[in-house]
């Protein structure tokens, strides 16, 4: 009996291991296939025009310059808003009210916001900033992106501040400095690396978001005049990709692949930098 049982256990183990090996292989193949298409099709569509010309009408020459600039502007503005709100909120959770009931509620809601469907954030900002002012705008797009970035930054800020040793706070306060001064001059400084990691991850998260921009920034075939004016609808990479991919024209599709490659490349690069920063931090 025990021999039969041993055989059964051995067989079960082999089956289990085989399953793990093969599904890992399958997953890696699928993901490699996606990366391969992205590289092959994306590089096929990349040329100088992509960076120098505005979105074309089907059949004519054009590029993604206006969309790249629009995306960058919106992401930067979103990050400025999100860093202000997120770092302060995370600081409150870590240093002031995190242990209260209210703090627990805020933390829970932040966690829910962290993975809330981005399209709902788009609807919210549409109701908040687009419908009342009768117009899609790059500014609304930036606010939508900021709303997606804030929970990431709040979370990382709280986490890295809690990692700072209590003696740091006690030393600062013991020297007679007000707590707020200690937080700004001592804790934020010593948590700098972690805060940077959080900011980079948030940037990576929002730079590829499409759904919330569909009905906030909408799209624009041209540069705004002046180019940094976000009061009107603004071209952005994700929506140009979306429209291009759904169009029936080969040249627009090629452009969409090129744009997708740009976005995915940016996201990967930023994520890798964030990981390196985090590792440096751990070492020091």
């Amino acid at each position: 009996m025990s021999a039969a049982k041993l055989v059964r256990r051995r067989v079960g183990d082999v089956v289990f291991k085989g399953f793990c090996w093969s599904v890992t292989g399958l997953a890696l193949v699928a993901l490699a296939a996606i990366l391969w298409s992205l590289l092959a099709q994306g590089f096929g569509g990349l040329n100088l025009d992509v960076f120098t010309m505005s979105t074309p009408a089907a059949g004519s020459r054009g590029g993604l310059a206006n969309a790249i600039v629009g995306s960058l502007l919106m992401c930067v503005l979103a990050m400025v808003i999100a860093l202000t709100v997120g770092v302060l909120a995370g600081t409150w959770l870590a240093e002031y009210g995190g242990r209260s009931k209210y703090g627990a509620v805020i933390r829970f809601l932040n966690d829910v916001l962290l993975s809330a469907p981005s399209i709902l954030v788009g609807l919210f900002v549409y109701e908040l900033l687009v419908a009342p002012f009768h117009g899609f705008s790059g500014f609304a797009g930036a606010v939508a992106l900021a709303l997606l970035a804030v929970p990431v930054i709040t979370r990382t800020t709280e986490d890295v501040l809690l990692l700072q040793p209590t003696t740091l706070r006690e030393a600062g306060v013991g020297l007679g400095a007000p707590l707020s001064y200690v937080i700004r001059q001592v804790l934020w400084r010593s948590a700098r690396g972690g805060l940077l990691t959080g900011a980079l991850l948030a940037f990576a998260r929002i730079s590829g978001e499409t759904a919330p921009l569909l009905f906030t920034a909408l799209n624009n075939q041209f540069f705004n005049k002046p180019w940094f004016d976000l009061r009107h609808q603004t071209a952005n990479l994700p929506v140009v990709i979306f429209n291009g991919a759904l169009s029936a024209y080969d040249d627009l599709r090629r452009l969409a692949w090129a744009g997708a490659l740009l976005i995915a490349g940016t996201v990967l690069a930023v994520t890798i930098v964030a990981r390196i920063v985090a590792q440096e931090q751990r070492r020091s």
């Binding site: 890696l28 809601l109 609807l123 109701e127 707590l179």
Partner: protein
């Protein structure tokens, strides 16, 4: 005696608040305000969805949830089609992604040769960050034609008339529909779930694993009866986070689901999800009621995902996992 007289000897000069105290209060107020802004944002989302969707909700009542009519021409809307589409695609995606992401996580924690462990682990984590529109495009341009040619056509021709397989596979073999959309969703949530599960499994103390091995357990037994039960609660939370993503995902689905508002009749039939309907129609909505109906769909999606995500977070919190 002298100790007690000392304070009295000092002149009754009131100590002024230290410089910076006011700044401190302002700073604390700002921090509190920022934290409250998060509450306001979530509250704002709920309120705006209810207000924006009210014209449709009041016009169609509860029937909005159960009617499958979606007709912009007659301005009559029912959400049943997209709701069912959302639930089916998310559930199918989860069923497909769960065993695979589990396998990947077990592979990375128990089986992977040491030199490959970091590269594969990092690759999985990086892929979790790829924007979903990339998955959507791949699904539309690469996956759909292959799926139509190698899966849909053979299956449809193999199905005997009147059999269950035939019911499941009716539709147009163009590579879009419920099942292809679910597969793309599964591929999209796979890296995320695998990375989360791996992170959880790594929190199992080495002593627990090693004592199981020391008792002579096989790898399968260690994983299935020791480490996985150890992180059970967190693992359920992680799975529900993945489900939350699948429910609310827009871009990976919109390209390939076929966008029809009727109940999907088979796995290959075209359908729609809440998110894909909103993405497709919102800027082209023809009437105020149409817009309101779309916003009400958003409200339904919010309620579903809020329940799933809330539960997921509670489970993960109790596990003490920082994800």
């Amino acid at each position: 005696m002298s100790e007690t007289t000392l304070p009295a000897a000092a002149p009754a000069k009131r100590r002024s608040a230290p410089r910076g105290a006011l700044i401190g209060q302002i700073f604390e107020g700002l921090c509190f305000g920022a934290a409250t802004l998060l509450l306001a944002a979530l509250g704002g989302i709920i309120v705006s969805l209810i207000v924006g969707g009210w014209p449709a909700l009041s016009k169609f009542g509860v029937g909005f949830l159960f009617s499958a009519t979606w007709n912009p021409v007659t301005d009559v809307y029912g959400a049943a089609g997209p709701i069912v589409g959302t639930l089916i695609t998310a559930a199918l995606a989860l069923v497909l992604a769960l065993p695979i992401s589990g396998g990947v996580a077990f592979f990375l924690t128990e089986l992977c040769p040491a030199p490959l462990r970091r590269p594969i682990g990092t690759a999985v984590e990086l892929l979790a960050g790829i924007p979903s529109i990339v998955y959507g495009m791949w699904g539309l341009f690469v996956f759909a034609p292959l799926f139509a040619r190698w899966i849909q056509l053979p299956l449809m021709s193999a199905a005997k008339p009147g059999s269950l397989l035939e019911t499941l596979t009716t539709g147009i073999p163009n590579g879009s529909g419920i099942l292809p959309a679910s597969i793309i969703l599964a591929i999209m949530i796979l890296p995320f779930m695998a990375a989360t599960l791996r992170e959880l499994l790594l929190t199992v103390p080495a002593a627990v694993r090693e004592s199981a091995y020391g008792l002579g357990a096989t790898t399968a037994e260690v994983v299935l009866s020791v480490t996985l039960p150890y992180v059970r609660q967190g693992a359920i939370g992680a799975v529900m986070l993945g489900l939350g993503r699948a429910l609310g995902e827009t871009m990976a689905v919109t390209f390939i689901i076929g966008n029809s508002h009727a109940f999907p009749k088979s796995l290959f039939d075209s359908g729609s999800t809440i998110a894909s309907t909103i993405a497709n129609e919102f800027t082209e909505a023809t009437s105020p009621v149409h817009t309101a109906a779309l916003i009400s769909l958003g409200l339904v999606l919010f309620l579903i995902t809020f329940a799933v995500l809330g539960l997921a977070r509670l489970l993960l919190r109790q596990q003490g996992a920082k994800l």
